[in-house]
């Protein structure tokens, strides 16, 4: 493909610039950080795939409660494990400064969809709230509060009343919050 572990070809670089929201410096920095994650044997492969454990050691993802979901969503392998460099660029592009609200909300929906079925049902929402409120028992909500919260969320955001939040309803909620674009950002 023209990309060895050490050097990124110029035509490939311009292609990446066209297909993603990243600038040239950001792509080069991403390349440098990605090759640091690879093991020595993988570096010589034509299209290396960094394993999930290595990616989760990145300081930008290390403490994020959604880190495993993020890697899963952007991975293009069959087993959803590990990212190639292009997957990594897709990730950074979706989380970059100039990505559109639509792209961000699309990927946010996929990240929050824990069972990967295309809608956010009650289990997804419960897992989401648990990720948001943290690991310890004192910060988590009680089962009663959780039930109440989920039914309120569904009441507010489920327009067609089918019991789940689909992508369009999710995007509708997101579009009302102007802070989403600035908070859905990861910068290397």
């Amino acid at each position: 493909m023209g990309a060895t572990a050490s050097h990124l070809g110029k035509d490939l670089l311009s292609e990446y610039q066209e297909l993603t929201f990243l600038t040239k410096q950001e792509i080069l920095l991403a390349h440098k950080r990605f090759t640091e994650l690879l093991s020595r044997e993988d570096k010589n492969l034509p299209d290396p795939r960094a394993p999930t454990e290595a990616i989760l050691t990145l300081p930008e993802l290390k403490s994020n409660p959604f880190r495993e979901r993020i890697v899963r969503v952007f991975s293009t392998s069959e087993s959803r494990d590990g990212l190639t460099f292009e997957d990594f660029l897709d990730l950074l592009s979706a989380f970059s400064d100039s990505a559109t609200l639509e792209i961000k909300s699309h990927y946010a929906f996929r990240i929050f969809d824990f069972d990967d079925d295309g809608t956010l049902d009650e289990n997804d929402l419960e897992k989401l709230v648990n990720c948001l409120t943290g690991e310890t028992d004192e910060t988590r909500l009680t089962p009663d509060e959780m039930k109440q919260l989920i039914s309120n969320i569904l009441e507010e955001s489920d327009i067609d009343k089918d019991g789940t939040v689909n992508l369009s309803e999710f995007q509708h909620v997101i579009s009302r919050s102007p802070d989403f674009v600035s908070s859905f950002k990861i910068v290397l």
Binding site: E15, Y16, E18, L19, F21, T23, S63, P65, F66, F74, T76, E86, D87, D90, F95, E102, I103, H106, A108, R110, F112, D115, D116, D117, L125, L128, L132, T133, G134, E135, T139, E145, Q148, L149, N152, I153, E156, S157, I159, D160, K161, D162, G163, T164, N166, L167, S168, Q171, V173, R176, S177, P178, D179, F180, V181, S182, S183, F184, K185, I186
Partner: protein
């Protein structure tokens, strides 16, 4: 295709039932977003892209590229559609009936090829597909299976082409400029660290500081290039020696330097002139013969036009950024969906430090619980007594605040009068110190009195009170300077005012430093060592931003009197950045309250534009328009007002060249006549009213559409129930039953879950249809509303 009549659908289903080769399992409902073809189960794209079927994305973007090529609005006009048309139909108005993903992809590729380069790049970037898919779309060879576009190839008009190319080149140059600015990467690493530790709120303060720095840089470049440099090249002899104290007082050596207005000559600076340029002729308007022989530079004109143009350009930039920020944060729909928004949008992915993440989780948990309590609690239950108490507290706080503001303003007024009467030159700093001390004390009093109020409105209240104080202080000072000092017969009142402003700026900086030291550093030491708490002070974003705005107002006020003041402000902002950055990192912790960064940024930019810049420009305009400049110094000595410089120049031009009379008349009508301003203000009001009516209409449309989607969901449930009844009647053979159960199970396992479950009560259904044992027996449908309908 999409069905628009129930009876047709039911008839279709009953017809298919009679077909012996019938394989489609009626129990498993299919979403409109997924394909309806029998080849659905074999679609390989489904496994890899469970969130949104790739086919759906491709068809959606095919529609978009088509509409882009047709150069119409992406949202279909509601007027053209029949009123009873269901919302799901409206977005798919132009969708062709594709049955194969390949043909769909080919159509999209052909559309992409026909777009312009920038449109294609933008469309490709915005697609939520993986890089491999995008590359295929970009470079796919066009096959013979192409569907021809439904429109003919239109050649646009030549004027349109020219305009398009002009706008493209403009946008290209703008994007180049911004990428250059971005690549400067000023403080990029430091900002990332702050954002990673404290989140978006504190980061917005530092970004605001960076914006102010760029404003001042622009002002400094303009004044430096056109005013300071030419004057510095022709210096009159220095009177005072330099000593270090001038940096603080602004007097001494500085009083006869480029820093102040008084230094600038009122003549035309020129070289290669008869009298060697060393003794400029008095009354520059008579020196034109000399000017024609060599390079000439009319200082008064340059001064007048530079200041005017700098203010005008700053105004345009401010209004532009304010409208952009407002557009980003304004949302048409007003109905609150607080819990859903909090759950979906509150996680700040920028935060990286583990302790900050833990803190953020804790905060979100607390906020969710509070919101839940708010939502479930009935507000009417709040007794009249409680509400009265809250009103009392608010009223008391506001009276205290207003009272202290008025007292402060009066004190400054009398102090200034006293100083004016005594005419000391060294103790003017007393005015500043007194003013600042009173400001601080009254602020603390008002802050303490509203500690009882615990919600978001507190931030706005604090901002308002702070603002009121500063505005009243500044207006008293302006009145004093422009009203009293200007007419007092001082030797060079402009330089005096410039000196005062320089000192004010310096005092502001020193007080901010003291504030940081005492408020953050010492408080942290105190709470750690003495109180033994691990709770660090919180960085007060609103107050710090208001300090910045106050400093910038002073800088804008002073540009006319002290052309180098933007330079001083730049140095101050640079120092402030590093000091605040280190203080925040060492002493503060992340804020506990939710901070709506986008809304507050809009508020701050609006505050920067309206009271701050508007006030400064009104003062400057008033000075230029009606106050007589001092006779003994400055570039406008001898004229009745500063505006006269422009008027005289226009008259000179007219005398020199009779063709330019229109310029003089235009000047007298536009610049001198205030009617022009009233007309412009009227036009603005009309535009604002029109836009507000449009927004009101859009809100009504949104409410109607939501209602329609809800009704559509009900329709769909009814339809499914009818279908089930119909199919149940046709079910009779056991072989058929078992075959269908097998098909159903296969489909269920492949899709991951069934789309609906059935009431257990009817025994006919339990063996025939897919039964997930859901006790509630709710129908669970996925209705794909078209994206982009609003």
């Amino acid at each position: 295709g999409v069905h628009d009549s129930f009876s047709r659908l039911i008839a279709e289903q009953t017809q298919d039932e009679r077909d012996p080769g019938y394989e489609r399992d009626p129990g498993c409902e299919r979403d409109p977003g997924y394909e309806r073809d029998p080849g659905y189960e074999r679609d390989p794209g489904h496994e890899r892209d469970p969130g949104r079927n790739r086919g759906a994305i491709l068809s959606q973007y095919y529609n978009r590229t088509l509409q882009l090529r047709m150069r119409r609005q992406s949202r279909p006009s509601l007027r053209d559609l029949p009123h009873s048309s269901r919302p799901s139909l409206r977005g798919y108005r132009v969708e062709s009936d594709f049955s194969e993903t390949d043909i769909r992809r080919q159509a999209l590729v052909s559309n992409l090829q026909k777009l312009s380069v920038s449109d294609r790049v933008r469309m490709l970037r915005a697609m939520p597909l993986s890089m491999a898919d995008k590359r295929q779309l970009r470079w796919a060879p066009l096959s013979s299976l192409l569907l021809s576009s439904p429109l003919g190839h239109q050649t646009p008009h030549i004027v349109v082409l020219c305009l398009i190319s002009l706008s493209l080149s403009l946008s290209l140059s703008l994007s180049l400029w911004f990428s250059f600015l971005h690549s400067l990467q000023l403080w990029q690493l430091a900002l990332k660290r702050v954002g990673g530790r404290f989140g978006t709120g504190v980061l917005s303060y530092f970004l605001f500081l960076k914006t102010l720095l760029f404003f001042n840089l622009f002002l400094f470049l303009v004044t430096g290039l056109f005013l300071v440099l030419p004057q510095a090249v022709h210096p009159p002899p220095a009177v005072h020696p330099f000593s270090g104290l001038e940096l603080l007082t602004g007097g001494g050596y500085f009083s006869d330097s480029v820093l102040y207005y008084g230094y600038y000559s009122d003549t035309t600076l020129n070289r290669d002139c008869d009298n060697n340029g060393s003794a400029p002729s008095p009354g520059g308007w008579r020196g034109l013969d000399c000017a024609r022989q060599g390079l000439s530079y009319s200082m008064p004109l340059a001064y007048f036009f530079t200041i005017g143009t700098a203010f005008f350009i700053t105004c345009i930039i401010l209004v532009f950024s304010m409208s952009r920020s407002f557009g980003q944060s304004f949302r048409v729909e007003q109905s609150p969906s607080l819990l859903a928004m909090k759950a979906f949008c509150s996680w700040d992915f920028k935060v990286v430090k583990t302790s900050s993440v833990a803190l953020m989780s804790e905060n979100i948990g607390t906020q969710l619980r509070e919101l839940l309590a708010d939502v479930t609690r009935n507000h009417a239950n709040q007794t009249a007594g409680q509400r009265l108490w809250r009103l009392l507290v608010h009223g008391l706080a506001w009276t205290i605040c207003s009272g202290s503001t008025v007292a402060c303003a009066l004190a400054v007024h009398y102090l200034a009068q006293h100083m004016h009467a005594v005419r000391h030159t060294h103790t003017h700093t007393d005015t500043d110190t007194h003013a600042r001390a009173r400001t601080k004390s009254s602020l603390n009093v008002s802050a303490a009195s509203c500690g009882l109020d615990a919600d978001d409105r507190l931030c706005c209240c604090v901002v308002c009170r702070n603002l009121m104080l500063k505005v009243s202080l500044l207006s008293v000072l302006c009145f004093h300077w422009l009203g009293r000092e200007a007419t007092s017969g001082l030797q060079c009142w402009e330089s005096f005012v410039g000196q005062e402003l320089y000192r004010f700026l310096l005092m502001d900086f020193i007080f901010t430093l003291l504030d940081t030291l005492l408020g953050e550093f010492l408080w942290r030491l105190f709470s750690e060592k003495v109180l033994k708490k691990s709770r660090r002070p919180v960085f007060d974003i609103a107050r710090n931003v208001l300090e910045l705005i106050y400093g910038q107002t002073l800088a804008w006020l002073g540009v006319l009197f002290t052309p180098l003041l933007p330079g001083v402000q730049i140095i101050k902002l640079l120092l402030l950045f590093y000091i605040k950055m280190s203080s925040v990192m060492l002493n503060c912790q992340a804020p506990r309250k939710p901070y709506r960064a986008s809304k507050m940024t809009t508020v701050f930019i609006t505050l920067l534009c309206f009271p701050s810049f508007l006030g400064a420009s009104v003062c400057v305009t008033y000075t230029m328009w009606s106050i007589a400049p001092s006779r003994a110094c400055g570039p406008f000595r001898g004229l009745s007002t500063m505006m006269q410089a422009g008027r005289l120049w226009v008259e000179q031009l007219r005398d020199a060249n009779p063709h330019l009379t229109w310029l003089a008349t235009a000047h007298s009508y536009l610049v001198e006549n205030p009617l022009f301003l009233f007309v412009a203000a009227g036009v603005f009001m009309i535009i604002i009213y029109f836009n507000s009516q449009v927004v009101g209409g859009q809100r009504k449309v949104i409410a109607l559409l939501q209602e329609q989607i809800k009704n559509e969901g009900e329709d769909k449930k009814f339809l499914i129930r009818q279908l089930q009844t119909t199919h149940a009647k046709k079910r009779d053979t056991p072989a058929r039953r078992s075959q269908q159960v097998r098909h159903c199970d296969d489909a269920v396992t492949r899709r991951g879950k069934a789309s609906f479950s059935l009431p257990d009560s009817d025994p006919r259904y339990s063996s025939t249809f897919c039964n997930r044992g859901n006790a509630t027996g709710r129908f669970r449908l996925s209705i794909q509303s078209p994206a982009g309908i609003w």
